[in-house]
Amino acid sequence: MAKTMKLIGKVTVGSGGAAYAEFTSIPGTYTDLLVTYSCRVDAAGYNNQASAVSFNGSTSNRSSRRLEGIGSSAASSTFASAMYSDITTGSSATANSFNSVEVYIPNYAGSTNKSYSSTHVVETNDATNNSIGCYAGLWSDTSAITSIRFTPTSGNYVQHSAFFLYGLTRA
C-alpha cells in the first residue's frame, strides 16, 4: 500500500521567537505539497497580522487574493505584488490562541507557474477579532519549488508556533 502523505519537514518555534519559518531543500520527488501550521505573532494588535509567502527566496512575480469573514461581515481583496497565506493573532489577542492554516501547493516541481490555495481560521472568543478565510496565490515562475518561507507581516512568530510540510504522491 502506497504511503501518499509523508511528513518531510517541521519547524517549531522556540522560546526566543522566530522572524520566519522556512523549509529548505525540498525534494522534487512528490507530486504536491501540503503545509499545515499554527502560529501567533508578537506584534501589537489582535488579528490584523498575516503571513507572507515566498518560494525559493523570490519576492518577484507574486500575487494573491483574499476572501475573509470576521463574524459580522465578509470581504475580499487583491494583492498585486504579494502572496499571503493567513490571518493570525497578535499580542493583544486572547492568550494562548493561535490560528490554524492549511496550504495546498499542486505540481510544485513541475514546469508551470506555481499556484496555491490556503484556508485559515482564527477563533479567540473575542467579540470582534476572529477570522475565517482563504487565499489564492500565484507565483508566476516555472521553477520547481525547493524552499518555502512564511514571514509575519509584523513582528515575530512566538513560541509554540509550529509548521509542518507534507509531500503528497498521487496514484
Binding site: 507530486t31 487574493r65 499542486p106 508551470t112 496555491y116 482563504c134
Partner: protein, 173 residues
C-alpha cells in the same frame, strides 16, 4: 504507521476534455478527497466553474443537487446558492482561448461519508483562482446511495490538457 490517505486514481489530461469521470470507486474508505489543478478553454477568456455530479452505478443527471457557496472576487464578497440543480457548482476556474497554458488553479473536493447508505451525501469544495475568484462551497446530493461514480465538468467548453485530478480514499482511525 497506518495509511489514512490512499491514492485511488489520478488523471492528468493529455487532451482537452469536456468531463472527467471516475467509475467503480471502492467503498472501503470513510471519505473521498479529490484534489488537483485545472484550467479551462472557451471562446473568450473569463470566469468559469468546475461542477460535480455523482451517482451509484452511473452518474445522476437529475435535479437532485443543491449547493451554497461563498465567493470573493478580490474586491467584493458574496454568497449564492442553487437548489434542485443538475450539478453542484463546486469551484471557480478560468478560461483561455489558447491551446496551452502555464497556470493551473488548485481545488479540493471532500466527499463526506460517501458510502454511508443512511445519509444524503455532503460535499465540501474549495477552489482558488488567483486571477479572479475564490470559492468555498457546500453541496448536497439527495440520495442515500453510496457514491461509486463521480464526474467533474465545466460550464466552459472543456477542461484543458495538463489539468490534474487525483482521487484519494481517507480512512478513519
Amino acid at each position: 504507521m497506518a495509511v489514512t490517505y490512499e491514492p485511488i486514481a489520478s488523471q492528468t489530461l493529455g487532451t482537452d476534455a469536456a468531463t472527467v469521470t471516475w467509475s467503480s470507486i471502492p467503498s472501503g474508505f470513510t471519505d473521498l478527497i479529490m484534489i488537483g489543478a485545472a484550467h479551462t478553454k472557451f471562446t473568450s477568456a473569463g470566469n468559469a466553474i468546475l461542477w460535480i455530479r455523482v451517482g451509484n452505478g452511473s452518474v445522476d443527471t437529475g435535479s437532485n443537487y443543491s449547493y451554497t457557496y461563498l465567493v470573493g472576487t478580490g474586491s467584493t464578497a458574496s454568497s449564492s446558492r442553487g437548489s434542485s440543480t443538475t450539478y453542484i457548482e463546486a469551484a471557480p476556474t478560468y478560461t483561455t482561448t489558447a491551446s496551452t497554458t502555464s497556470t493551473f488553479y488548485p481545488f479540493a473536493f471532500h466527499f463526506m461519508s460517501y458510502s454511508n447508505t443512511n445519509v444524503n451525501k455532503t460535499i465540501l469544495a474549495s477552489g482558488d483562482v488567483s486571477a479572479a475568484r475564490l470559492y468555498r462551497t457546500v453541496g448536497l446530493w439527495r440520495s442515500t446511495s453510496a457514491i461509486t461514480n463521480i464526474t467533474i465538468g465545466t460550464d466552459a467548453t472543456s477542461i484543458m490538457a495538463g489539468s490534474v485530478l487525483s482521487l484519494y480514499g481517507v480512512r478513519a482511525a
